[in-house]
Symmetry: C2
Amino acid sequence: MATKYSRQREMILNNLCSRTDHPTADELYIDLKEELPNLSLGTLYRNLAMLSENGTILKFHCGTADRFDGNNNLHYHLICEKCNRLYDLEHAPLTELDNMFASGYKGKINSHLLVFYGLCEYCNCSV
Amino acid sequence: MATKYSRQREMILNNLCSRTDHPTADELYIDLKEELPNLSLGTLYRNLAMLSENGTILKFHCGTADRFDGNNNLHYHLICEKCNRLYDLEHAPLTELDNMFASGYKGKINSHLLVFYGLCEYCNCSV
DNA sequence: ATCAATAACGATAATCGTTACTGTTATTAT
DNA sequence: ATAATAACAGTAACGATTATCGTTATTGAT
């Protein structure tokens, strides 16, 4: 069960953390193929699952595919309803939301996901 | 392009609106088969897409499948990290969120999705 | 009421993102 | 070095959803 180091996992994480475009697995794969020509798509998915499960990265479902974010600090996103891309929003985290909703609730609240829908600045200008 | 009435669509909507368990397409299908033995899964998906696109119902992606909600009034949900079910939370809608995030943003914000993660009241008690 | 136009249907095949399997390779502790 | 096994590459399988296609049902006009 002990996790072993792998060069592939390190390079996947490095690549994801060096970009801010929240790529899909496939978009990451195309880019990583240049540095790791033998990389298998299964390896990529396996590592993205591992990294998001242990909280190192974030995973979002947009449109048909999942998108990944190497920045796991609490922040919010906008999904553009036109181009389906995922963008960061500049806003302080609303840490109080979890407590607000937890009061009076019999279950347990660990975290929240806040996603806005609309048009990104590029699509908004080209309507 | 004009929408025509269909008995199937009416019964799909009635069934969904009469329950509060946010079923997947497949769960709806199993139930609807009793009243509409000839219902095709394609018809169900086609109508769920039409109804969610025109805002009559809501669609959420949880786990591997989409879940649907016949109550389209703004309200929030909890996804249980143990049983993967989707529950309604009792809390007034935060209509101010869209405006809060829209100020200073160059794109356009139409709506938001706020989902909490944690344990539902049943799983929380049986830990 | 009949008829033409076409939205919607049922049945089924195809799509595609993701996961599982299998034999091989690389990491790690002894 | 060596043994144990996590992780790999390659590929097959899976499953939710979508597309296709010939047929049926709704609708508006005659």
